[in-house]
Amino acid sequence: MKLATWGSRTGAALLFALGVAMSASAQAPAKADATKAAPPAAAAAPAPAAEAAKAPPALAPNSTANIGWNKPPEWSKVETLPQYASVPGRETNVLVEDHGHKWRELRNGPVTSYGGYLLLIVPVLLILFYFIKGPFKLHGAPTGKLIERFNSLERMTHWTVAISFLVLAVSGIFILFGKYFLLPVIGASAFSALTVFGKTLHNFVGPLFMFSLVAMFFIYVKDNFMGGSDFAWLARMGGILSGKEMPSGRFNGGEKAWFWLGTVVLGTVVCVSGLILLFPNWNTGRELMASANIWHAVGAVLFMALSLGHIYMGLATEGAYKGMREGYVDETWAQEHHSEWYADVKSGKAAGDKDKGMAAQPAAGDD
């Protein structure tokens, strides 16, 4: 009991003494500094405010600070620049990202409107053309003798590219145009479910398309080098309008143009931009992703428009679809549509199994 009282009294006395000492040192800090420290420390003592205002610190190179002690930055100049942010993540330190606005205007503007018109006008024109011209029929009678036009590897590659292209085209159309023509019809929930499915399909079929497109390039490139006759073919549209088809090798000028413009140029644009968009885990910035999206959409719309022409030719030309599906064309077909190739096959210069007779595909178990 006694000990405790003594303890508390001594404690209070000690605290009091400490308090006095502290206030004393607080009252005369400058004096203590001056007596104890060397001259440089004395110079560092607080200078008068007016003197400080005269000499604000020099700015570091590329600094966006305003000269002066406490002037706010010029917001319009700094808000798009990377600054400091304690929250981690890509670009969290940027106040305003102004490329998104340009992306929005491009995507919701010309890409959607002109892209949409193009994808509406091209099929309409092709249908009109079909009504005027009708299918491209064989002029002569089929001989019944078949020539191998596409081997199984070529066909497999073509159809992998073609089917994945169709999947990508349809799901892509849903993402860019769906909300204008499909959403009002089927409602928000159904459209969202469809688009989630389409988007997932798009993202996983995309790489398949890419690999098969690269394979297609290497498999088909040998017969697609453009020569002088191909430009002549293109200049006269292959004689489609005159009805007198111009001679061509294994592939005509139009097919070669589709190969270089579609498979090579647009294929590269769509695949490279698609890869940028496909991997958000690469921590890509918004500006690059948004511009990749524009390249992707423009490339894809042109690709689809051109593909409609290719599909039209394949379906409207008698025997062409069958040639790609089964691999064989009739000799008459070869002579009429690809006379130079036919001559090469006949002379043995080009591949093409000309020994196939009436039974083009031997039945299973046939010996």
């Binding site: 600054q83 304690s86 969290t92 106040l95 998104g100 993402i175 909300k179 928000a188 969202s192 958000p280």
Partner: protein, 205 residues
């Protein structure tokens, strides 16, 4: 009807990150997502200023304009909300937003991002107010409870103001007139266009 807006007074913000923490805690925001963040301009230099940034609930919201499935909607109070059930996780709102508000819980290969998450102005989502479902997807619906956003309520220096645009603009104008500096309302020009520089006239007079 009140038009809800945010103002961050850069002359007052002390970069304490209280708003960021308040938001995360109030809504139990998914890991990796910060609906609000602080950006410090001229960090460590004379004239350093900090701004608290989140969704500004724009008048002509870019996220809303580019969404392929139209999952965004605007409440009567001008709050931009979205429906996570419709969101397909394409990331377009994230490209379009100038403020970096839309974020995704995942960043996986093959475009797997999960459902977009962003500031709701503490107004929840399309589900019934203050239900378990709503809380899990969008966080607390404080507006329905008659409260203002947690970030602004929590702000220690009242730098962050949230509420009816007219009311908070008046408070801000008063501040600018009293202290005679900091007239520019950050972000308003971009988010609301017409009253982007609301306090400038007050300072000159």
């Amino acid at each position: 009807m009140a038009r809800m807006k945010f103002i961050c007074d850069a002359e007052r913000c002390i970069e304490c990150n209280g708003c960021v923490t308040a938001c995360k805690s109030e809504h139990e925001v998914p890991w990796g997502v910060n609906r609000r963040r602080l950006v410090t301009v001229n960090d460590g230099l004379p004239g350093e200023r900090s701004i608290s940034v989140a969704c500004m609930h724009c008048t002509d919201a870019p996220c809303m304009a580019v969404c392929p499935v139209d999952c965004f909607y605007k409440t009567e109070e001008g709050v931009v909300l979205h429906d996570k059930d419709l969101c397909i996780g394409c990331g377009y709102c994230f490209y379009a937003c100038p403020f970096g508000a839309p974020q995704f819980p995942q960043a996986g290969a093959f475009g797997l991002r999960g459902k977009m998450d962003k500031c709701t102005f503490c107004a929840g989502g399309p589900e019934a107010n203050n239900t378990e479902v709503e809380f899990k997807k969008y966080g607390r619906n404080r507006l329905a409870e008659g409260k203002l956003p947690a970030c602004a309520e929590m702000c220690s220096t009242k730098a962050l103001l949230a509420g009816d645009g007219n009311v908070i603009a008046t408070i801000y104008k008063q501040r600018v007139a009293t202290r005679k500096k900091g007239p520019e309302v950050w972000g308003w020009k971009m988010a609301y266009k017409e009253d982007g520089n609301i306090a400038a006239a007050e300072v000159k007079s």
